[in-house]
């Protein structure tokens, strides 16, 4: 397991990464600009036109450093992994368990339960922090109460469809209260959330959370691969060619706690601002390069926030969560645990 949580994000177009001894060298216009020891790295994420030498790819594959290639705007393209990655015995069991309807239902329910419970904890934590702003507190608490009801219903749900339905409803209530998470009365309407839009994001908040989810998904995906699981065969998310269903499953329990909290605190702390977003002709919203970089830095910092893992009862940091959860998943699949315990945040 990687205890080093440094991910190298390369956003400068035209950069080239090469192996220099036991380090990665970042070259821009042929000139070395940065050099990092390979064993200090957890992953490398290349945005857009970034090249990578075969020697570096080989060394990374060897040492379990994930390299991913994303478009400049953060859409996933490909990753490099080594021959030893992926373990056929673990994967066989994973497929068997995922194929068994009652097992899949059981896992999916717990994943959604933790997603909803964590969303609820995020709302309630914000309500406590918003003391004095009576309207916001009331709105946050009302939404949290709806989510409590969802938790109760989920506990009795008997089909995957009903679980997915309840998840959808809970998400609507949760995002319905998203504006109440924002503390600074915005001068303009820049940071007003109307509804979740992904493809493409139609407002800055959606652009921001979509980008954070992309980063989190990358981490969840490499965590699955690092422990030998197939990131494309999930329990809650249905299989579809090319869809990283297991990584998406793993991400559900972490979205609110890791990404959403960061999104609204970036806005509240004014670390992102209205001019950091561009409106395209088709109505889609895009982040400027500067905003994207600021978000990457903030995400890296978020990963260093300490916490005690509720199940393992061990001190860790936010960035380790995808790995720890993937490990718990593989430990359940291997038979060390009687069930997979998703992450629950004790707000």
């Amino acid at each position: 397991m990687k205890t080093h949580l440094n991910t190298l994000y390369v956003t400068t177009q035209g950069s080239y990464l090469a192996k220099q001894g036991l380090t990665v060298q970042v070259r821009i216009d042929g000139k070395p600009r940065a050099q990092l020891p390979l064993h200090n790295l957890e992953g490398i994420v290349c945005f857009g036109r970034v090249g990578c030498s075969p020697a570096l790819m080989g060394a990374c594959a060897d040492q379990g450093v994930a390299i991913s290639f994303l478009t400049e705007r953060g859409r996933y393209l490909a990753s490099v992994r080594g021959a030893s990655h992926g373990n056929v015995l673990v994967r066989r069991r994973q497929y068997r368990l995922a194929d068994d309807p009652s097992t899949a239902l059981d896992v999916a329910r717990r994943i959604v339960l933790s997603k909803v419970a964590n969303s609820r904890s995020v709302l309630l934590r914000a309500a406590r922090d918003a003391e004095g702003a009576a309207n916001r507190v009331a709105e946050l608490q009302a939404a949290a109460n709806r989510l409590s009801a969802s938790v109760h219903e989920l506990r009795g749900a008997t089909s995957l469809d009903s679980i997915r339905g309840l998840e959808g409803e809970a998400a609507t209530h949760y995002f319905g209260a998203f504006n109440a998470l924002l503390s600074n009365a915005p001068a303009s309407d820049t940071f007003r959330f109307t509804r979740r839009s992904r493809r493409p994001p139609l407002d800055p908040i959606n652009a921001l959370i979509s980008f954070l989810y992309t980063l989190l998904l990358h981490d969840a995906r490499s965590a699955c691969e690092a422990v030998g699981l197939d990131p494309c065969v999930g329990f809650l998310h249905a299989d579809r060619p090319g869809k990283p269903s297991l990584a998406l499953d793993l991400m559900e329990e972490l979205r609110a706690y890791v990404a959403d909290r960061l999104a609204y605190s970036l806005i509240n702390r004014r670390q992102v601002s209205a001019d950091g977003f561009k409106l395209l002709d088709n109505g889609a919203i895009e982040m400027t390069d500067a905003t994207r970089k600021a978000v990457l830095v903030a995400y890296q910092e978020r990963k260093r926030d300490p916490l005690t893992h509720p199940f393992l009862a061990e001190k860790t940091v936010v960035g380790m969560l995808p790995h720890l959860q993937a490990l718990l998943l593989v430990r359940w699949i291997r038979g060390d645990l009687d069930a997979y315990p998703p992450f629950l945040w004790k707000g």
Partner: protein
């Protein structure tokens, strides 16, 4: 019963096996590997040993990075160095970071190399050498009948473990403190009882605690 070439397992797995069977399964069955500073340094040391050229001097030849295998034991590997002096049996030399250990790991690994050499050359290999980086000392190791037996048993057990394909549950002990796979292994997981009921309890407490807060 001799093994076939496709069944061969790495000699290096023997040291994992002797350290902890679960560790061995995590690395060689589950194919998980924790790269830490120590293993990285170990790799550098090996690179150095392997990187040098094989030399021929009047006192004999030093063969570096020599591939080895034994069908009898079902093992393959690479000897850091094999020293061949005229008129003497070949001597495998294995480089180790750190200092001599109390247990048999290093000697067994070396003995496995010696047995491979015997099988490949048809000559007896009565001696091997361990070179320790910390103490910069060479320790001669005799491939005694006892050590050969322990080595053959370890090889057989290794094949059994890999064939079985299951990871044994952890038996946490002092060895876990120094284990590079600790964070992957989570040795105390098995003792934590039911994860299912732990999750239910946790969920209850999260929901209940916050209902209180929201009052």
């Amino acid at each position: 019963m001799p093994y076939s070439e496709t069944d061969l397992l790495p000699i290096s797995a023997l040291q994992h096996l002797l350290y902890c069977e679960r560790q061995c399964a995590l690395i060689h069955v589950e194919r998980q590997w924790a790269e830490n500073r120590e293993t990285a340094q170990g790799n550098i040391l090996h690179k150095k040993a392997h990187g040098g050229k094989s030399t021929t001097r009047p006192e004999g030849r030093s063969l570096r990075a020599l591939p080895l295998r034994s069908l009898a034991l079902g093992l393959f590997g690479v000897a850091d160095v094999v020293q061949c002096r005229p008129g003497e049996p070949p001597v495998p030399v294995e480089y180790k970071r750190g200092r001599p250990k109390k247990n048999d790991c290093d000697r067994v690994q070396l003995c496995a190399q010696a047995l491979c050499l015997e099988e490949m050359t048809g000559q007896p290999v009565p001696l091997g050498e361990l070179f320790y980086g910390k103490t910069r000392r060479r320790v001669a190791v005799e491939t005694s009948p006892g050590l050969r037996r322990v080595t053959a048993e370890a090889a057989a057990r290794l094949h059994e473990l890999i064939r079985d394909g299951r990871t044994p549950t952890a038996e946490p002990g002092p060895k876990c403190e120094r284990c590079s796979l600790r964070e992957l292994c989570l040795p105390h997981l098995g003792r934590r009882g039911s994860a299912r009921s732990a999750f239910d309890r946790l969920l209850d407490s999260v929901v209940a605690a916050e209902e209180e807060n929201s009052r």
